[in-house]
Symmetry: C2
Subunit: 328 residues, 2 copies
Amino acid sequence: MTLDLADPIRAGERRALARAITLVESRRADHRKDAEALLADLATDRREAIRIGLSGTPGVGKSSFIEAFGMMLVEAGLKVAVLAVDPSSARSGGSILGDKTRMERLSREPQAFIRPSPSQTQLGGVARRSREAVFLCEAAGYDVVLIETVGVGQSETVVAEMSDLFVLLLAPAGGDELQGVKRGIMEQADLILVNKADGDLKAQATRTCADYSGALRLLRKRPEDPEGFPKAMTVSAMTGANLDDAWFTMQALADWRRSEGHWDTRRAGQARHWFRAEVEAALLAQLDTPGARQQMAELSEAVADGSVLPAAAARDMATFLRKQDAPL
Amino acid sequence: MTLDLADPIRAGERRALARAITLVESRRADHRKDAEALLADLATDRREAIRIGLSGTPGVGKSSFIEAFGMMLVEAGLKVAVLAVDPSSARSGGSILGDKTRMERLSREPQAFIRPSPSQTQLGGVARRSREAVFLCEAAGYDVVLIETVGVGQSETVVAEMSDLFVLLLAPAGGDELQGVKRGIMEQADLILVNKADGDLKAQATRTCADYSGALRLLRKRPEDPEGFPKAMTVSAMTGANLDDAWFTMQALADWRRSEGHWDTRRAGQARHWFRAEVEAALLAQLDTPGARQQMAELSEAVADGSVLPAAAARDMATFLRKQDAPL
């Protein structure tokens, strides 16, 4: 039944794409089976977009940037998909992209597709669904997939691990605030864009950009980076200044990685990473059945009151799971 | 056979204790079985030491501190065990405590026991063995177990999770360096000791201590802490200054936690934590057999070249493991 979705997706029908993403987000076992059949069918096409991870905390103007950047791409004849990865969306009562009015023009474009984050609290679950949604967007013929995150906790790493390029969007700031950017995220970024380089903030944005350029020079250069990368630039989502330069820079980096073989190496490495993550999650899911949870709770109490040592209790739990022969 | 170790350990024989720790460190299945039988036998005694986690980077004078602090405790009639938890020891070619000459006096004391870190690269393995070594030291009647780490990567968290009190040893520093101490470790510390408060460095140590006191006040107070904790103090391992105060402070905190019920709650929580960690490690160990490794490698390549998607490959792997019926 759901295989009927494959051809409409190939034809780029947005409703079919939206339904397919809903399918991969479902936790129902029958939905999961259908989802995997659909994904396997589409995998033979091997359509490829440029996957751009985009991180930026609230207040840096991320929605405005995506709106302006996305419109520029659409006007250049490209198809653009925007996916949000936000593990906290379930808690905050809605995705950051739930409010599509913040991307009013882009959301009305036939060549654009915007999808909020799935409402799940577990980052692991969000990660799988997001990866599969990216894949579905590629199958639907999108040229650029923007994967955006607010960068809470580990979500930036998750997004970086499913992107071809990783972009960090920042606001103009005083020199002291530079330290507020986590070192880990700086190391993952291919491109830092200092937004709001317009009006009164322009000079400050330029200074902030210079600060980040300096900081990036101190970080180790990766073998998959050409000379001059990672790079920091100023942009303005409001005036549109330098948005074309930013896109040109992203393309130049992508082209270099493709020609040097780093592109495929990186995608293959990411696929291996996600495979292992899925296997480990499946193994640990054995602890998530009602019977296993009860057994864990009982043994946990015995361990807590000191009558059984952790290693011995773990052995008992392993015996219990083996007898269960629970489906992995 | 190894149950013969139980009574000598109860009698406090150091050679039996050393052999038992070697046994819990062994990876051989028959050794593991013997180790668990021994631990279960000794668990009935419920002897309890005060477990003090101690972290400090090289250069802060950790060995000198342990030597001086340990000697003070021994001279007060207490039995002192020192265990090192250092996941990197295998790489650096020997434990930080391998060189016992740095604790020359303490290592000659009959009331003291010093044990280097097991030479394993995996922190998970080191953690289990260290916890069981702590337990064996308690069974052997030690009053104080010092668990020391150099604080690379996650080792501080591992040590904090097996300690009743967590002490951070630091050297006098300029005000700017305060930011170099990771926030996470500051939040775990019950007591910060600024060492080298002697000679030319005394004034600087006092200033550093004041800086840390200020920083600690900004951190959230935990319900298991009495008024004034976490606390920062100056000490000198060289002159012995304030070592008695430090010990008095540790005892006061321990007494407060015992009387308020936090002591048992904390130990129970740690036991539960380690139980879950052991169960998860056992589940993931299914991937560590030769057959599973080969299957993972084959599926990983199929995923990397794009012919199979991660979720589908993970499902294949789960089927493989179920057929294996591998011992957990």
